[in-house]
Amino acid sequence: MNDTKKTRQLILFILVPLLIMFASLFLGRYPVDLGTVIEILWCKITFQPCTAAEISQTLVWDIRLPRVILGALVGGCLAISGAAFQGLFRNPLVSSGILGVSSGAGFGAALAIILFNYLPTTYIFAFVFGVLAVVFSYLIGRIYSSTPTIMLVLGGVIVSSVFSALISMLKYMADPLNELPAIVFWLMGSLASARFQDIWTAGVPMLIGTLGLLAVRWRINVLSMGDREAHTLGINTVVNKGFIIACATLATAGAVCVSGIIGWVGLIIPHIGRMLVGNDNRVLIPVSFSLGASFLIMVDDLGRLLTGSEIPLGILTALLGAPFFVYLLKKTKGGGW
């Protein structure tokens, strides 16, 4: 690949999600025209008084914008962690939830809904239990002194199934009129409650995780050679694996705690990236973030436009992602698999 093509690609993968984000500000039941949107953005950023209608201001700045930003962060984080885990576990079928972060977070959220029914505590519980689940998986993986990949995966499977059982138990115990629907909706994933304060809180772990993964992305190539080869290539496998797992967990737990469980993005977006730009994680990791962000914002747009009430994200990501993936498979002939 020559340099001009590389630069063009880079610009494309930065511009496309930004354009999609901008376009999404217009979409919705209440129409807002281009001039008004730009005016609102401009005067809010520069802290000037705004002349646009109060309702347009609230819609664009307080509802649509945080939702779009959060959608981009969540989609990007799920995809980037999925790509990192696929490399780390040397398995293309692995997704961001492999070490139990999703089921842990699901349990935390369900527990908070039953105990408090107050949104901020739901976020905190989901985040804490998501991280805890990964810590358990990691400790199981460390039963042997090093962390063999297969033991980590096994740990993840064990922890996930325990938390899934606990989620079922909570659903069974929940009040069927209020709590049960809340739990079920949370587990299906949504960005509907997104506000700026969510970005400030959940955005911190998401950004830290993402930046960490971006920093060490080339090392994921080396780790995907397997432990013994990575060691002889000069990499401390235990430290590097631990760091990548920590970053991917922060990013995923941050995403899941505000959005609920959104499947499919962390599995399939990295593969779309592989088909488009190849398997070198130097390129694949950032591209996965860009693709995940674009994909989730578009899916969220459809979710709120298609019908009168919102369709949960977890449903749409699979329904839309699957045919698109098959189309890409056919078009790129699988990209070397």
Binding site: G87, N91, P92, R219, V222, E229, T232, L233, R274, G336
Partner: protein, 280 residues
């Protein structure tokens, strides 16, 4: 000649099974040391100890005088590179991306390979003669080409010693020769040292026939039963004891005054006892 690698009285055991008992040898610069021995004799375990992947329970392994127990993976990788017996292929990385991974020990945790690393990778590809493959996904290569990629990756590490674990296993007749020729060229041209586990005694003779300082260690029942030059150690008698195989060493003189030696296996020993009448 100074010794590059020194293995002194190394013992290793898995729970309930002693694999190596007070094993020792040394390897000099520009030399090929071949490990021969039956399946399960501990060749791979010994290599794993030398790679720093397993820790010996007793004994000391030193590279250039430094105990490898005190070396980080990074320092070790600059001294010694590894060509695995069979590499499990996962993602279809391009050949050049594979070879670039050999530069990991020279890069900080946040760095990616630079233009200089790229040049070193390209040179390594050239040395093993597969520059034309550099943009191919390595998962689509044949077994022989794939093994050459592994050799190129080891060369990109720029280490004085390369450890190879049965590098010609599963390769066809021609590609086995290609790997052996590549090793001979590298040792002659760059003064590389090679430690190689193999199942084929003729490999040791091949190196010796090509005028490379070669020694061989015969590993059996946790010990070396002999270490020395192939023409001294690889005798009919020793091969019989090592593998329970009756074999003959055949030699002929070449035009350039060198001797060409080869091992020809005849039969397993138990079988030859039963069939005393076979002519040989």
């Amino acid at each position: 000649m100074s010794s590059l690698l020194q293995v002194q009285e190394v013992s290793f055991q898995y729970p309930g099974a002693l694999i190596l008992e007070q094993v020792g040898f040394s390897l000099n610069k520009g030399e090929i040391f071949c490990l021969l021995g039956p399946n399960g004799c501990g060749k791979t375990t010994l290599l794993d100890c030398i790679l720093g992947w397993l820790k010996p329970h007793k004994g000391k392994i030193s590279l250039n005088g430094t105990d490898i127990g005190n070396m980080s993976a990074k320092t070790l990788a600059r001294q010694l590179a590894y060509v695995p017996q069979s590499h499990e292929r996962t993602f279809p990385y391009r050949v050049r991306e594979m070879v670039l991974m050999g530069r990991a020990s020279y890069l900080g945790p946040m760095n990616s390979p630079s233009g200089e690393d790229m040049a070193i990778a390209d040179e390594a590809l050239k040395m093993v003669g597969i520059s034309h493959l550099k943009n191919r996904p390595y998962t689509q290569l044949s077994g022989g080409e794939g093994q050459l990629v592994m050799v190129a990756r080891a060369l990109a590490q720029r280490s004085p010693l390369v450890v190879m674990d049965e590098p010609t296993a599963h390769l066809d007749y021609k590609h086995e020769m290609v790997i052996l020729e590549t090793i001979v060229d590298l040792v002659k041209q760059t003064g590389l040292s090679v430690l190689m586990a193999t199942h084929i005694p003729n490999h040791c003779y091949y190196f010796e026939n090509n005028g490379i300082p070669t020694r061989v260690g015969l590993l059996k029942d946790r010990h070396f039963m002999g270490i020395g030059r192939p023409c001294e150690v690889l005798t009919d008698e020793n091969l019989g004891r090592l593998y329970n195989v009756q074999a003959r060493i055949i030699s002929c003189d070449l035009e350039n005054g060198r001797q060409l030696r080869q091992v020809v296996p005849i039969s397993t020993i138990n079988r030859s006892k039963n069939n005393q009448g076979v002519k040989n």
